[in-house]
């Protein structure tokens, strides 16, 4: 067993009290004197040229301070250097229903909303594209003029010899899979507050402070600098508490720029908070994906080749699209040993809100297709689903055919855990009719080895400062968005320094205070910011050790830091509580969970005998007093505070810096697009789902999910379990109920009533298993734990439905109508005319409806049969 005092223990999140009591402040909770409310006018058309905007009527409304339009901030931006195709407010064209046209800054929300109705915009309508495969055929009226045929980017990769691989196969399976569009549905809608200060010398607008619900404060700072034409040092981005991101806040969202531009124009602070509908329009979720997948295998189940053609319906802007389409191909590798891979990926523009990064970025939809098809291969070869996966395991350490380096690899153990936990061997295929088990696996990166900003700068840097009383402050740019980043940072610092967690304060995500970190996305924080924290803490620890060692008459290597005590190795009294310096009761900045299993001493109270006491002025006098108290004989241990005081006396300020950059060996192949997919480490997941299918209604119920996840080392097991359960739950939403439904570019369900994330009623029991493969490069061996598990849930459910009812679903979500249609098709029963969305070989009708079977109204257009427009429309 390990010998950690804080790592590996279940620790309450350091911000738990704030969040659970409501005391914590999210961006929308903030206000500053003189603050205005911003409201955005959105385009009613999916594709149109703006001929004229007249804001004069709106400006005259009492309470309106300014109306902002595109020409107020004409510089383009975008999250990727190759994708600077967005404007905060439309310049010449709108590209989706909901695109941003103008913004009113007014004294109240009601006035701003009223003013929106007074802005006159003249549009010239353009042909619009809603289906990616149709959009690719376009010859004119491209969504972006520099993107012919509306293809944002296409990649064509071949690794190994795919043709030879298929020729060698005994069985080749081929099918089209469709995963419909889903969105993050984070609890907190996006919100931004921007406030300028006056320059003390010129009296003109100077620095700006932007509070925003973001996963990427430094990217926001950078894009603001591009659009506002201000140096980054003049822009301070602060991230308050964030109520969930899931990728939806991992790039610059229009309101963040618009709020700053409006604040500049009005010379007053401006806050914009999206309505839920606007959150859906800002979107950046998982694109609808069409996957034509082909898998070849030998009789023994060994995969010989995989070919995937992937078309992603990316929406109107690039966003993270180029990265998404590359991940979809790259992550075919690094899970199983696949000798030959062919990949053709198309990221296509359509007149719908932009898709972007979402939990399991790029891998989820392709994984659904792959794991479903692997199950079909297994069934045809008469091999058990778990067994076929075992036969295709990698042999790490290795580099996959597409250039991904794999070191720690807990997949075999993950499979064993869920097979055992679910009673797979005894129960699979033997459950009563209508009930079944399904198994699937997945993996994900622990951060990208190559950052999207294409810079050699470290991906994370962390500063640590220790105060004279032993208080530790960690400055990190990593963004806590609910995933536990601040807690992880505090844990690592406390473990390295051997101090109690309550001593550690984390200052995070404030660009004025914290060193640069590229943000909370692609599951990079624990691995990268964690490693940077580890190194920063080690640097400080070295300084403390050298000073303490001098006092204790030994070498710095002979000291152990643990439980707020520095002890000489081999001493007989390694844990002299009496020596521990107290901190006043109630000073603890963060609550710590009672932790009966831990040997770690709880935070000592003021009543214990103290060396330097905690009376007024004591901290400064401390070392002098200690000197007097010291014997001539070297001591065997000293308190953490004493050691800190000694170090400060010796070194002056006690600070340390650590940073992390992925090693060159992990940065992947040299092929075009080879920069996306490589990661210093991959997490692994295996899941078994137990479902039942109602054969008369098509309703699917998920009863239980066994989910094993290899996270390297669980720094905080309770947080890891939470992430596994959350991933399963979110994956289940995509598998069964969640779907963005479109009609001629109109989102039919832009709210949480009609966009149906599962409620607690549908939530199955999830049994998490933590598998620890101890990664050689992760901090204490840790890897990611918050995204990888999601991708396994969808195919696990699909495979369980197959086991339960004998139907293979090729399109997600598996809504009751799709399931029922498949059941009827199987029985050759009277068709319900529902099959067009289910059978991927007859997609014409399906495409006509922009993606979903569940909505088939006639649409927004005026049809010939409709009455002529009347003027007495209103009551």
């Amino acid at each position: 067993m390990n010998n950690f005092s804080i790592i590996g223990k279940p620790i309450a999140m350091v911000d738990a009290a704030e969040k659970t009591t409501g005391a914590g402040k999210y961006t929308d909770d903030l206000s500053v004197p003189g603050m205005l409310v911003g409201k955005i006018l959105h385009s009613p058309h999916p594709h149109a040229r703006i001929k004229r905007i007249n804001t004069s009527r709106a400006e005259k409304l009492d309470g309106v301070v300014a109306v902002v339009v595109g020409s107020d901030a004409p510089n383009p931006y975008g999250i990727l250097p190759v994708g600077h195709d967005e404007h905060a407010l439309a310049i010449d064209k709108v590209r989706y229903v909901g695109d941003n046209v103008a913004c009113v800054a007014a004294e109240t929300e009601a006035i701003a909303e009223q003013a929106l109705e007074l802005i006159d915009v003249e549009y010239e309508l353009l042909p619009a594209y809603f289906d990616p495969e149709e959009s690719m055929k376009a010859e004119r009226d491209f969504i972006h003029e520099n993107k012919p045929h509306n293809v944002e980017k296409d990649y064509h990769h071949a690794f190994g010899d795919p043709e030879k691989g298929f020729a060698e196969a005994d069985l080749v399976e081929e099918a089209r899979f469709i995963a419909n569009e889903v969105t993050h549905a984070a609890m907190e809608p996006h919100s931004t507050l921007a406030s300028f200060e006056l320059d003390p010398h010129t009296g003109k607008l100077g620095r700006v402070t932007v509070w925003s619900s973001t996963q990427v404060p430094y990217y926001l700072q950078h894009k603001l600098s591009l659009v506002l034409e201000m140096p980054m040092s003049q822009i301070r981005v602060i991230k308050p508490l964030v109520g969930g991101g899931f990728g939806g806040k991992s790039e610059v969202i229009p309101l963040e720029i618009i709020a700053a531009v409006a604040a500049r124009k009005t010379k007053r602070p401006v806050k914009i908070t999206y309505t839920r509908e606007e959150v859906f329009w800002a979107h950046r979720g998982r694109p609808r994906t069409i996957i034509d997948l082909k898998t070849g295998a030998k009789k023994d189940g060994r995969i010989t080749a995989v070919k995937a053609r992937v078309v992603q319906d990316g929406g109107a802007y690039c966003s993270y699209g180029v990265v998404t389409i590359l991940y979809s191909g790259a992550l075919l590798g690094a899970l199983y040993d696949i000798p030959n891979i062919q990949y053709d990926g198309y990221r296509v523009l359509t007149n719908k809100p932009a898709c972007g990064a979402m939990r399991g970025h790029g891998t989820v939809n392709v994984r659904f297709a792959f794991e479903s098809q692997l199950d079909e291969v297994a069934a045809k070869l008469n091999i058990d689903s778990a067994e076929i996966r075992r036969r295709n395991l990698l042999q790490p350490p290795c580099i996959t055919v597409n250039g991904l380096r794999v070191q720690s690899y807990g997949l075999p153990e993950c499979i064993e855990k869920v097979v055992e936990g679910s009673g797979w061997k005894e129960r699979k295929g033997k459950l009563p009719k209508g009930r079944g088990l399904g198994l699937a696996c997945s993996h994900y990166v622990s951060g990208a080895a190559n950052s999207i900003i294409r810079s050699d700068m470290p991906h994370s840097t962390v500063n640590v400062k220790i105060d004279r009383d032993g208080g530790v402050v960690v400055y990190t740019g990593a963004s806590e968005i609910g995933q536990g980043s601040d807690t992880m940072t505090a844990q690592i610092a406390a473990e390295v320094l051997g101090c109690s967690l309550s001593r550690v304060k984390v200052v995070a995500a404030d660009t004025d205070l914290t060193p640069i970190d590229i943000g909370s996305y692609s599951s990079r924080v624990t691995f990268m910011a964690g490693n940077a924290t580890l190194r920063a803490a080690q640097e400080v620890k070295k300084q403390i050790a050298s000073a303490a060692a001098k006092k204790m008459g030994c070498g710095p290597d002979e000291l152990t830091f643990r439980n707020d005590v520095v002890t000489r190795n081999g001493s007989r009294n390694p844990n002299p509580a009496i020596e521990v310096v107290s901190r006043a009761e109630g000073q603890s900045p963060h609550p710590v969970t009672p932790n009966p299993g831990a040997t770690r001493m709880e935070h000592p109270t003021g009543s214990s005998a103290s060396v330097s006491g905690h009376v007024e002025g004591q901290i400064l006098r401390g070392s002098l007093q200690q000197k007097r108290k010291e014997d001539e004989t070297p001591r065997e241990s000293m308190s953490f505070e004493e050691a800190v005081v000694a170090a400060i006396d010796f070194h002056g300020a006690l600070t340390g810096t650590g940073s992390y950059a992925p090693p060159p060996e992990a940065r992947g192949g040299k092929h075009k697009g080879g920069g996306v997919g490589p990661s210093p480490a991959y997490s692994y997941s295996a899941q078994v789902a137990e479902v039942s299918v109602d054969e008369e209604t098509g309703e699917v119920t998920v009863h239980k999910v066994w989910a094993a996840h290899d996270c390297g080392r669980a720094l905080n097991p309770v947080a890891v379990e939470g992430q596994i359960i959350g991933s399963v739950w979110m994956g289940m939403g995509q598998a069964l109920t969640e779907e963005m439904v479109w009609k001629e570019g109109l989102l039919m369900n832009p709210g949480l009533l009609e966009y149906r994330s599962p409620s607690s009623v549908e939530s199955p029991e999830v049994i998490p298993f933590i598998v620890e493969s101890i990664d050689p490069e992760g901090p204490f061996g840790a890897k990611e734990c918050s995204e990888g598990a999601l991708a396994a849930t969808i195919p696990a459910i699909a495979n369980a439905i197959y086991d339960a009812a004998g139907i293979r679903l090729h399109e997600s979500p598996f809504t009751p109508e799709r399931v029922l249609a498949a059941l009827r098709a199987k029985r050759n029963a009277k068709s319900l005319n529902l099959t067009e969305g289910v059978d991927p070989t007859s997609p014409t009708r399906f495409r006509e409806h922009g993606g979903a079977v569940w909505f088939r109204g006639k649409g927004a257009k005026r049809y010939e049969a409709d009455r002529m427009p009347t003027n007495s429309a209103t009551d």
Binding site: E277, R756, L820, G857
Partner: protein
């Protein structure tokens, strides 16, 4: 989305409520809205579906409270919450179908606020209607609000917005009456006569009238049955189809079968032609199947909500069959 300015009127007696309705309702068609639980009204006001000058809050009117037995049957005050109906021993014992339907409404949080009166008067729903002002503007509005088009039926001049309350299906089965008060007195109307079948003018209630109580007749108190609701989530959702079944039995014989549907037409509807089911010793699979077919024929779902109309109609059939068989067990 901000609420537009309005005056909140908080009457303490029924007289005050009716007086203020008469005073304000005459000014213009959309001058007043009634607030009972507010769970449907307030989101709709934010979406600018209603922009009333006066909102009359009935929560302080004690005459609208209470569940009591009278000569006519059991009276339920219009502002009794759905949660209170669920918890009523009297109703559970005498009119279990209503309790089942009340339990199926939305989620516990909403049932704590939402009232039986509100559920009966609930506005009809359609994907093209229950949207924000900006959204509706982008599709050119629709017949039900601000426009002249129906996006559900090309060339249509009728509004097909679906009535989506759960409890009226049960009330139809129980032959319930509604008491409606206005300045000129009170009137009673059968639930089956209350709805018009027009999505945009769905109920027979004048701007100066108030639903005050629901009367469940003694003659319906022997009915056993259940309510089945089609929805994607097990909570929160409005019905995509709802089937209430009530069966009266005596001495091993089926005396009467009533089935009512909701969420598949602009009005909740009783399924006609069920007389043949009565008089038998029990209702078997075949009879239940037959009832299901009749129910499916009564349902006219259109693309006003999630799931395809074909599927919803099919579920009316399946749910009716299942509910009827379950009612025979109860």
């Amino acid at each position: 989305m901000a609420l537009t300015d309005f005056q909140l009127v908080r009457p303490r007696t029924l007289d005050e409520a009716i007086t203020s309705m008469r005073t304000h309702a005459d000014k213009s068609v959309r001058a007043t809205r009634i607030l009972a639980g507010g769970t449907d009204l307030l989101p709709s006001m934010r979406q600018k579906l209603f922009e009333p000058e006066y909102v009359i809050d009935l929560r302080g009117v004690h005459e609208l409270r209470g569940i009591r037995e009278t000569e006519d049957g059991v009276e339920i005050g219009a502002t009794i919450t759905l949660n209170e109906i669920e918890g009523s021993k009297l109703l559970r014992e005498k009119y279990p179908v209503l309790v089942e339907a009340a339990k199926a409404v939305a989620s516990p949080v909403i049932r704590n606020m939402g009232t039986i009166g509100g559920n009966i008067c609930l506005d009809t729903r359609c994907l093209w209607y229950n949207q924000s002002l900006a959204w509706r503007k982008s599709c050119g509005f629709c017949i039900k609000k601000d426009g002249d088009l129906c996006h559900v039926a090309p060339g249509g001049t009728k509004c097909w917005a679906a009535f989506s309350g759960d409890t009226p299906a049960a009330l139809l089965c129980l032959n319930a009456r509604l008491e409606i008060a206005s300045a000129s007195g009170t009137r009673r109307i059968l639930v089956s006569d209350f709805y018009t079948g027009e999505g945009d003018n769905y109920r027979k209630l004048q701007a100066n009238e108030l639903l005050t109580k629901i009367i469940l007749p003694h003659s319906s108190s022997g009915y056993r049955g259940t309510y089945r609701k089609l929805r994607i989530r097990g909570s929160i959702d409005y019905p995509l189809a709802g089937v209430a079944v009530a069966v009266k039995r005596s001495n091993g014989h089926v005396d009467d079968v009533r089935i009512a549907l909701t969420a598949v037409n602009p009005a909740p509807m009783l399924v006609p032609g069920l007389a043949a089911l009565a008089g038998n010793g029990c209702i078997d699979e075949d009879a239940a199947e037959y009832a299901g077919t009749l129910a499916a024929r009564t349902a006219r779902p259109l693309t006003t909500s999630a799931l395809t109309p074909e599927y919803r109609r099919e579920m009316v059939r399946v749910f009716t069959k299942r509910a009827l068989l379950a009612a025979m067990q109860s």
